[in-house]
Protein backbone atom coordinates (compact mmCIF):
# COMPACT_ATOMS: atom_id res chain seq x y z
CA UNK A 1 0.00 0.00 0.00
CA UNK A 2 1.07 3.52 -0.66
CA UNK A 3 2.79 4.64 2.59
CA UNK A 4 1.41 8.15 2.25
CA UNK A 5 -2.18 6.88 2.02
CA UNK A 6 -1.58 4.51 4.90
CA UNK A 7 -0.28 7.38 7.01
CA UNK A 8 -3.34 9.48 6.17
CA UNK A 9 -5.64 6.57 7.09
CA UNK A 10 -3.97 6.14 10.50
CA UNK A 11 -4.10 9.85 11.08
CA UNK A 12 -7.83 9.94 10.31
CA UNK A 13 -8.49 7.05 12.70
CA UNK A 14 -6.69 8.87 15.49
CA UNK A 15 -8.65 12.03 14.83
CA UNK A 16 -11.93 10.09 14.80
CA UNK A 17 -11.06 8.51 18.13
CA UNK A 18 -10.57 11.93 19.66
CA UNK A 19 -13.91 13.13 18.30
CA UNK A 20 -15.89 10.34 19.99
CA UNK A 21 -17.65 11.40 23.18
CA UNK A 22 -16.23 9.82 26.30
CA UNK A 23 -18.30 7.18 28.03
CA UNK A 24 -20.04 8.59 31.08
CA UNK A 25 -20.36 6.90 34.42
CA UNK A 26 -23.55 8.49 35.78
CA UNK A 27 -23.46 6.89 39.27
CA UNK A 28 -19.86 7.94 39.75
CA UNK A 29 -20.68 11.49 38.72
CA UNK A 30 -23.56 11.66 41.17
CA UNK A 31 -21.34 10.34 43.99
CA UNK A 32 -18.77 13.01 43.25
CA UNK A 33 -21.36 15.80 43.29
CA UNK A 34 -22.83 14.54 46.54
CA UNK A 35 -19.40 14.41 48.16
CA UNK A 36 -18.55 17.94 47.08
CA UNK A 37 -21.89 19.21 48.36
CA UNK A 38 -21.40 17.59 51.77
CA UNK A 39 -17.94 19.05 52.36
CA UNK A 40 -17.90 21.89 54.85
CA UNK A 41 -16.52 25.24 53.97
CA UNK A 42 -13.26 25.59 55.97
CA UNK A 43 -13.46 28.01 58.84
CA UNK A 44 -11.21 31.03 58.52
CA UNK A 45 -10.49 31.65 62.18
CA UNK A 46 -7.19 31.49 64.08
CA UNK A 47 -4.04 30.49 62.26
CA UNK A 48 -6.03 28.90 59.47
CA UNK A 49 -7.45 32.31 58.70
CA UNK A 50 -4.13 33.35 57.23
CA UNK A 51 -4.43 30.60 54.63
CA UNK A 52 -8.10 30.95 53.86
CA UNK A 53 -9.33 32.38 50.58
CA UNK A 54 -10.93 35.79 51.12
CA UNK A 55 -12.59 38.30 48.91
CA UNK A 56 -11.64 41.96 49.04
CA UNK A 57 -12.94 45.01 47.27
CA UNK A 58 -10.65 47.85 46.24
CA UNK A 59 -10.58 50.70 43.78
CA UNK A 60 -7.91 49.99 41.11
CA UNK A 61 -6.54 53.52 41.34
CA UNK A 62 -5.75 53.10 45.04
CA UNK A 63 -4.14 49.72 44.42
CA UNK A 64 -1.99 51.31 41.75
CA UNK A 65 -1.13 54.34 43.89
CA UNK A 66 -0.15 52.11 46.80
CA UNK A 67 2.01 50.01 44.51
CA UNK A 68 3.76 53.09 43.12
CA UNK A 69 4.36 54.47 46.60
CA UNK A 70 5.82 51.18 47.84
CA UNK A 71 8.06 50.88 44.80
CA UNK A 72 9.22 54.47 45.13
CA UNK A 73 10.02 54.04 48.82
CA UNK A 74 11.86 50.79 48.13
CA UNK A 75 13.84 52.34 45.31
CA UNK A 76 14.80 55.34 47.46
CA UNK A 77 15.82 53.22 50.42
CA UNK A 78 17.70 50.81 48.18
CA UNK A 79 19.69 53.57 46.51
CA UNK A 80 20.43 55.22 49.84
CA UNK A 81 21.77 52.13 51.52
CA UNK A 82 23.37 50.61 48.42
CA UNK A 83 25.34 53.82 48.04
CA UNK A 84 26.71 53.52 51.55
CA UNK A 85 27.39 49.87 51.96
CA UNK A 86 27.56 48.17 48.60
CA UNK A 87 28.78 50.80 46.20
CA UNK A 88 29.71 48.77 43.22
CA UNK A 89 28.98 45.59 41.41
CA UNK A 90 32.28 45.08 39.72
CA UNK A 91 31.98 41.96 37.66
CA UNK A 92 28.86 40.67 36.04
CA UNK A 93 31.06 37.81 34.87
CA UNK A 94 28.49 35.14 34.32
CA UNK A 95 25.51 37.43 34.46
CA UNK A 96 21.96 36.32 35.02
CA UNK A 97 20.95 33.79 32.44
CA UNK A 98 17.64 35.43 31.58
CA UNK A 99 16.32 36.56 28.25
CA UNK A 100 18.07 39.92 28.49
CA UNK A 101 21.52 38.34 28.22
CA UNK A 102 23.01 36.11 25.58
CA UNK A 103 26.05 33.83 25.59
CA UNK A 104 29.17 35.21 23.94
CA UNK A 105 32.53 33.54 23.41
CA UNK A 106 35.72 35.58 23.19
CA UNK A 107 38.74 33.94 21.57
CA UNK A 108 42.22 35.36 21.12
CA UNK A 109 45.44 33.87 19.78
CA UNK A 110 48.19 35.41 21.91
CA UNK A 111 51.57 33.69 21.54
CA UNK A 112 53.80 34.21 24.54
CA UNK A 113 51.17 35.72 26.81
CA UNK A 114 50.96 34.37 30.34
CA UNK A 115 47.70 36.14 31.28
CA UNK A 116 44.90 37.43 29.11
CA UNK A 117 41.71 39.16 30.23
CA UNK A 118 38.73 40.78 28.56
CA UNK A 119 37.86 44.29 29.64
CA UNK A 120 34.81 46.17 28.49
CA UNK A 121 31.84 48.23 29.45
CA UNK A 122 30.19 45.04 30.73
CA UNK A 123 32.76 44.60 33.52
CA UNK A 124 33.64 48.23 34.26
CA UNK A 125 36.87 47.81 32.26
CA UNK A 126 38.34 45.86 35.15
CA UNK A 127 41.24 43.67 34.02
CA UNK A 128 40.86 41.38 37.02
CA UNK A 129 37.15 40.75 36.51
CA UNK A 130 37.09 38.37 33.57
CA UNK A 131 40.33 36.47 32.97
CA UNK A 132 40.41 34.22 29.92
CA UNK A 133 41.31 30.56 30.15
CA UNK A 134 44.21 29.10 28.24
CA UNK A 135 42.85 26.50 25.88
CA UNK A 136 45.52 24.02 26.93
CA UNK A 137 47.14 23.65 23.54
CA UNK A 138 48.53 26.29 21.28
CA UNK A 139 48.17 29.97 21.99
CA UNK A 140 44.41 30.23 22.22
CA UNK A 141 42.67 31.98 25.08
CA UNK A 142 38.95 31.54 25.51
CA UNK A 143 36.22 33.08 27.65
CA UNK A 144 32.48 32.45 27.72
CA UNK A 145 30.26 35.20 29.09
CA UNK A 146 26.62 36.18 29.08
CA UNK A 147 26.23 39.78 27.98
CA UNK A 148 23.22 42.07 27.99
CA UNK A 149 21.73 42.83 24.60
CA UNK A 150 23.11 45.94 22.97
CA UNK A 151 26.34 47.46 21.72
CA UNK A 152 29.43 46.78 23.83
CA UNK A 153 33.00 48.02 23.59
CA UNK A 154 35.83 45.77 24.74
CA UNK A 155 39.52 44.99 24.47
CA UNK A 156 41.93 42.27 25.50
CA UNK A 157 44.60 42.96 28.11
CA UNK A 158 47.72 40.81 27.82
CA UNK A 159 49.92 40.27 30.88
CA UNK A 160 48.19 43.09 32.72
CA UNK A 161 49.51 45.90 30.56
CA UNK A 162 49.22 45.43 26.81
CA UNK A 163 45.85 46.43 25.41
CA UNK A 164 44.85 44.87 22.13
CA UNK A 165 41.61 45.06 20.10
CA UNK A 166 39.98 41.86 18.88
CA UNK A 167 41.39 41.13 15.42
CA UNK A 168 38.15 39.37 14.48
CA UNK A 169 35.78 42.18 15.37
CA UNK A 170 34.99 45.66 14.07
CA UNK A 171 36.93 48.53 15.56
CA UNK A 172 35.42 51.38 17.51
CA UNK A 173 36.73 54.92 17.41
CA UNK A 174 39.76 55.80 19.46
CA UNK A 175 38.08 56.92 22.65
CA UNK A 176 40.58 59.59 23.70
CA UNK A 177 42.83 57.25 25.65
CA UNK A 178 45.17 56.14 22.91
CA UNK A 179 43.97 52.92 21.40
CA UNK A 180 41.07 51.37 19.58
CA UNK A 181 38.53 49.11 21.20
CA UNK A 182 36.48 46.43 19.50
CA UNK A 183 32.72 46.38 19.13
CA UNK A 184 30.31 43.56 19.75
CA UNK A 185 26.61 43.85 19.05
CA UNK A 186 24.64 41.38 21.15
CA UNK A 187 21.23 41.08 19.56
CA UNK A 188 20.40 37.43 19.20
CA UNK A 189 20.00 37.75 15.45
CA UNK A 190 23.49 36.93 14.35
CA UNK A 191 24.90 40.31 15.38
CA UNK A 192 28.63 40.60 15.38
Amino acid sequence: MDPEREEKRVDERIRAAYRQPSATDEPARERLIARLASERTPRAGGLRGWFAVREYHARPVWVFATLVAVLAAGSWLGARFAGRHAPIAMAPVAGPSDASTLPVTFVLRAPGATRVAVVGDFNNWDASATPMAHSGSGDLWVLNLRLPRGVHLYSFVLDGSEWRPDPAAPLAADGSFGGHNSVIVVDGAGGL
Binding site: W125, D126, A173, G175
Partner: protein
Amino acid sequence: MNRTLALCLALAVATAARADEGSDEARLNARLAPEVAHQVSTLVNEARAAGLPTDPLIARAFEGASRGADAAGIVNGVRRQSSAQASARGALGPGSQPDEIVAGASALLAGVPADSLSHLRLARAGGSLVIPLVVLCDLVARGVPADVASVAVVTAARAGATDNVLLRIRERIHTGIENGGAPAGTTGEVVRQWLRMTAGRGRHGEGPGGESKRKTP
Protein backbone atom coordinates in the same frame (compact mmCIF):
# COMPACT_ATOMS: atom_id res chain seq x y z
CA MET B 1 -8.33 61.21 42.10
CA ASN B 2 -6.44 62.01 38.91
CA ARG B 3 -4.32 64.51 40.83
CA THR B 4 -3.40 61.83 43.34
CA LEU B 5 -2.43 59.49 40.55
CA ALA B 6 -0.35 62.15 38.82
CA LEU B 7 1.36 62.98 42.10
CA CYS B 8 2.21 59.34 42.71
CA LEU B 9 3.63 59.00 39.21
CA ALA B 10 5.69 62.16 39.54
CA LEU B 11 6.99 60.92 42.87
CA ALA B 12 7.94 57.59 41.35
CA VAL B 13 9.75 59.21 38.41
CA ALA B 14 11.62 61.67 40.61
CA THR B 15 12.58 58.92 43.01
CA ALA B 16 13.80 56.68 40.22
CA ALA B 17 15.96 59.50 38.82
CA ARG B 18 17.39 60.15 42.27
CA ALA B 19 18.09 56.47 42.70
CA ASP B 20 19.93 56.40 39.35
CA GLU B 21 21.99 59.43 40.31
CA GLY B 22 22.88 57.96 43.68
CA SER B 23 23.79 54.64 42.19
CA ASP B 24 25.99 56.20 39.47
CA GLU B 25 27.72 58.43 41.98
CA ALA B 26 28.47 55.46 44.20
CA ARG B 27 29.91 53.52 41.27
CA LEU B 28 32.10 56.46 40.26
CA ASN B 29 33.28 57.15 43.81
CA ALA B 30 34.28 53.54 44.26
CA ARG B 31 36.62 53.67 41.30
CA LEU B 32 37.77 57.26 40.73
CA ALA B 33 39.38 60.01 42.78
CA PRO B 34 36.67 62.14 44.46
CA GLU B 35 37.30 65.22 42.31
CA VAL B 36 37.24 63.21 39.08
CA ALA B 37 34.17 61.30 40.21
CA HIS B 38 32.41 64.57 40.96
CA GLN B 39 33.18 66.07 37.54
CA VAL B 40 32.17 62.91 35.73
CA SER B 41 29.02 62.69 37.82
CA THR B 42 28.09 66.22 36.78
CA LEU B 43 28.49 65.29 33.11
CA VAL B 44 26.47 62.13 33.64
CA ASN B 45 23.63 64.04 35.29
CA GLU B 46 23.61 66.59 32.47
CA ALA B 47 23.40 63.78 29.93
CA ARG B 48 20.57 62.16 31.86
CA ALA B 49 18.68 65.42 31.97
CA ALA B 50 19.11 65.68 28.20
CA GLY B 51 17.75 62.18 27.73
CA LEU B 52 21.03 60.72 26.52
CA PRO B 53 22.44 57.30 27.47
CA THR B 54 24.56 57.59 30.62
CA ASP B 55 26.12 54.15 30.98
CA PRO B 56 28.57 54.78 28.09
CA LEU B 57 29.83 57.87 29.92
CA ILE B 58 30.51 55.97 33.12
CA ALA B 59 32.09 53.19 31.09
CA ARG B 60 34.30 55.75 29.34
CA ALA B 61 35.51 57.04 32.71
CA PHE B 62 36.32 53.53 33.88
CA GLU B 63 38.10 52.79 30.63
CA GLY B 64 40.24 55.87 31.11
CA ALA B 65 41.07 54.84 34.67
CA SER B 66 41.99 51.33 33.54
CA ARG B 67 44.17 52.65 30.74
CA GLY B 68 45.99 54.89 33.20
CA ALA B 69 44.72 58.26 31.95
CA ASP B 70 45.12 61.21 34.28
CA ALA B 71 42.21 63.12 35.82
CA ALA B 72 41.96 65.68 33.02
CA GLY B 73 42.16 62.94 30.40
CA ILE B 74 39.32 60.99 31.99
CA VAL B 75 37.03 64.01 32.26
CA ASN B 76 37.89 65.07 28.73
CA GLY B 77 37.16 61.59 27.41
CA VAL B 78 33.76 61.54 29.11
CA ARG B 79 32.98 65.05 27.81
CA ARG B 80 33.88 64.03 24.24
CA GLN B 81 31.67 60.95 24.52
CA SER B 82 28.77 62.98 25.84
CA SER B 83 29.15 65.62 23.15
CA ALA B 84 29.36 62.94 20.44
CA GLN B 85 26.20 61.28 21.73
CA ALA B 86 24.33 64.57 21.63
CA SER B 87 25.51 65.20 18.07
CA ALA B 88 24.65 61.65 17.05
CA ARG B 89 21.11 62.00 18.34
CA GLY B 90 20.77 65.32 16.56
CA ALA B 91 21.90 63.77 13.29
CA LEU B 92 19.94 60.54 13.64
CA GLY B 93 16.73 62.13 14.83
CA PRO B 94 14.89 62.35 18.13
CA GLY B 95 13.42 58.85 17.89
CA SER B 96 16.83 57.17 17.79
CA GLN B 97 17.40 54.15 19.97
CA PRO B 98 20.13 54.29 22.66
CA ASP B 99 22.25 51.72 20.82
CA GLU B 100 22.03 53.79 17.65
CA ILE B 101 23.14 56.87 19.56
CA VAL B 102 26.11 55.01 21.04
CA ALA B 103 27.11 53.56 17.65
CA GLY B 104 26.59 56.93 16.01
CA ALA B 105 28.75 58.64 18.64
CA SER B 106 31.52 56.17 17.94
CA ALA B 107 31.27 56.90 14.21
CA LEU B 108 31.44 60.65 14.85
CA LEU B 109 34.45 60.22 17.13
CA ALA B 110 36.10 58.22 14.35
CA GLY B 111 35.70 61.22 12.05
CA VAL B 112 32.51 60.43 10.15
CA PRO B 113 30.66 63.65 9.24
CA ALA B 114 27.35 64.15 11.04
CA ASP B 115 25.40 64.50 7.80
CA SER B 116 26.42 60.97 6.86
CA LEU B 117 24.44 59.76 9.84
CA SER B 118 21.40 61.70 8.64
CA HIS B 119 21.78 60.27 5.12
CA LEU B 120 22.01 56.81 6.60
CA ARG B 121 18.78 57.39 8.50
CA LEU B 122 17.05 58.43 5.30
CA ALA B 123 18.50 55.45 3.44
CA ARG B 124 17.13 53.05 6.01
CA ALA B 125 14.07 54.74 7.40
CA GLY B 126 12.42 52.62 10.04
CA GLY B 127 15.27 50.12 10.31
CA SER B 128 17.97 49.87 12.93
CA LEU B 129 21.17 51.70 12.08
CA VAL B 130 23.36 49.97 14.65
CA ILE B 131 25.15 47.60 12.25
CA PRO B 132 25.55 50.18 9.42
CA LEU B 133 27.07 52.61 11.94
CA VAL B 134 29.37 49.96 13.38
CA VAL B 135 30.54 49.04 9.87
CA LEU B 136 31.03 52.70 8.98
CA CYS B 137 33.08 53.32 12.11
CA ASP B 138 35.15 50.20 11.52
CA LEU B 139 36.00 51.19 7.95
CA VAL B 140 37.18 54.63 9.03
CA ALA B 141 39.18 53.15 11.91
CA ARG B 142 40.91 50.88 9.38
CA GLY B 143 42.04 53.80 7.29
CA VAL B 144 39.25 54.24 4.76
CA PRO B 145 38.71 58.00 4.31
CA ALA B 146 35.55 59.06 6.15
CA ASP B 147 33.85 60.45 3.03
CA VAL B 148 34.56 57.29 1.01
CA ALA B 149 33.35 55.04 3.82
CA SER B 150 30.21 57.14 4.26
CA VAL B 151 29.34 57.05 0.56
CA ALA B 152 29.97 53.30 0.47
CA VAL B 153 27.75 52.44 3.44
CA VAL B 154 25.00 54.90 2.57
CA THR B 155 24.95 53.71 -1.05
CA ALA B 156 24.77 50.07 0.01
CA ALA B 157 22.04 50.80 2.55
CA ARG B 158 20.08 52.79 -0.01
CA ALA B 159 20.33 49.84 -2.40
CA GLY B 160 18.74 47.62 0.23
CA ALA B 161 21.80 45.98 1.78
CA THR B 162 20.81 44.03 4.88
CA ASP B 163 22.92 43.91 8.03
CA ASN B 164 24.40 40.60 6.86
CA VAL B 165 25.39 42.12 3.53
CA LEU B 166 27.03 45.09 5.20
CA LEU B 167 29.00 42.79 7.47
CA ARG B 168 30.15 40.75 4.49
CA ILE B 169 31.11 43.90 2.61
CA ARG B 170 33.12 44.94 5.66
CA GLU B 171 34.90 41.59 5.73
CA ARG B 172 35.72 41.84 2.02
CA ILE B 173 37.16 45.32 2.44
CA HIS B 174 39.10 44.26 5.51
CA THR B 175 40.60 41.30 3.65
CA GLY B 176 41.44 43.49 0.68
CA ILE B 177 43.23 46.03 2.87
CA GLU B 178 45.13 43.28 4.69
CA ASN B 179 46.25 41.95 1.34
CA GLY B 180 47.76 45.30 0.47
CA GLY B 181 44.87 47.07 -1.25
CA ALA B 182 44.45 50.80 -0.84
CA PRO B 183 41.64 51.39 1.69
CA ALA B 184 39.67 53.84 -0.47
CA GLY B 185 40.10 51.90 -3.71
CA THR B 186 39.28 48.57 -2.09
CA THR B 187 36.14 49.98 -0.49
CA GLY B 188 34.89 51.46 -3.75
CA GLU B 189 35.62 48.27 -5.65
CA VAL B 190 33.86 45.96 -3.17
CA VAL B 191 30.74 48.11 -3.03
CA ARG B 192 30.63 48.52 -6.82
CA GLN B 193 30.97 44.76 -7.18
CA TRP B 194 28.04 44.20 -4.84
CA LEU B 195 25.92 46.77 -6.64
CA ARG B 196 26.65 45.08 -10.00
CA MET B 197 25.72 41.70 -8.56
CA THR B 198 22.46 42.91 -7.10
CA ALA B 199 21.47 45.02 -10.11
CA GLY B 200 20.26 41.97 -12.00
CA ARG B 201 18.46 40.50 -9.02
CA GLY B 202 16.68 43.56 -7.72
CA ARG B 203 17.06 44.80 -4.19
CA HIS B 204 18.05 42.79 -1.15
CA GLY B 205 20.61 40.59 -2.89
CA GLU B 206 22.86 38.91 -0.40
CA GLY B 207 26.24 39.07 -2.14
CA PRO B 208 29.14 39.57 -2.31
CA GLY B 209 30.51 36.10 -2.57
CA GLY B 210 27.68 34.52 -4.48
CA GLU B 211 25.71 33.55 -1.38
CA SER B 212 22.00 33.96 -1.48
CA LYS B 213 21.16 33.24 2.13
CA ARG B 214 18.56 35.53 3.65
CA LYS B 215 18.80 36.80 7.14
CA THR B 216 16.36 34.93 9.30
CA PRO B 217 14.01 37.14 11.26
